[in-house]
Amino acid sequence: MTQLAPNKYDYLCREVRARTGLVLGPDKAYLVESRLGPLARRSGFAAIEPLVDAMMRGDRAIHTEVCEALATHETFFFRDKTPFDLFRQVIAPALLAARAGRALKIWCAAASSGQEPYSLAMLLDEAGGPAADILATDMSAAVLEKAKAGLYSQFEVQRGLSIQRLIRHFDQAGEAWRIKAHLRQAVRFEQSNLLDDFARLAPMDVIFCRNVLIYFDVETKSKILDRLAAALAPDGYLLLGAAETVIGLSDALRPVEGHRGLYAQAPAGNRAAA
């Protein structure tokens, strides 16, 4: 399918993997086609091949844009619902009591265009506003800009949001809807990649890292999970996507019984000796 010569496709896969951790197997030619075609046109290239040639010549700006275009930014408000129910019913009550008034430190890793951190900000607001410091990171500057603006299309605000939440938490802005200022201010957005060092963020009380590990190879998943565990408070919680797990990948984390997708620090004795 792809118009790329095999050696250039291999180069593209290697570079994207080194830079972002994303694994593009030979079966991902359709993805490369559909994501890079529009980027090539936008950047003034006749096709994908000259775009990859520009990468190979060392054009850093093109390199970054290619990596961002190949990442999947699909998200919506209250995606999968269960993690947000867990946050409201299990995580927030336990940690708020333990923190005795200190603001909860929450990190949404690979937060894309902001629907996940803003969903948490809405939940906290609805609970009467317990103090929380929500950090949202993503590797893509473009989606972070959108997230910071807090401006969503009519289509986006109708996926996962009840009408009551829409009218409570958003203002109409022409054809679009903007999340209210106090909720935008409740979330800090920073550009950061899961392959980067994030030890400086520790200790986090809650980490949401959903539907991103699925794109990585086993070794990368394993390393990221160990580093997420290191960034997590001793009694903190990690939430993964429905198709993701720590089992067989990290000794530092254990599933929380009875709560699918929820993980906590493993007891020290369970961990393999360093």
Partner: protein, 121 residues
């Protein structure tokens, strides 16, 4: 089987909506204005109503107010489904007893999401 009544004066919209609700496992009835919808509800109250606003004979809002006064008329979950997409219309619809609000244009994902929000699926 749960039933959804699709109320819209556009035959095309009714056809699209029917396909979506049937794919979600609902039976589908159709009405092309509020008066027809009221007649249908008096015969059998559906579980869900997908309701357009601007229609000839009786509009969606007038229908909703009348429905809620009917015996058993508080039972159906009513989702407005309209091009009236401003805050004033939305709040007016909710005050009149609507449960959810779909802004046109819609697709299957939006209807499914809104049915879930309204506790129908």
């Amino acid at each position: 089987m749960k039933t959804c009544l699709v109320v819209d004066d556009s035959r095309v919209i009714r056809k699209v909506a029917r396909k979506i609700v049937e794919d979600m496992g609902f039976g589908c009835e159709e009405a092309c204005d509020g008066q027809e919808a009221l007649t249908a509800c008096r015969k059998a109250m559906p579980e869900a109503i997908l309701l357009d606003w601007n229609m000839p004979v009786m509009n969606g809002l007038d229908f909703l107010v009348r429905l809620r006064q009917e015996p058993g008329g508080r039972k159906p979950v009513v989702l407005f489904c309209t091009t009236e997409n401003d805050m004033a219309h939305i709040t007016q619809a909710l005050r009149a007893g609507a449960d959810e609000y779909v802004m046109k244009p819609f697709d299957g994902e939006i209807i499914e999401s809104k049915f879930a929000e309204a506790g129908l699926v």
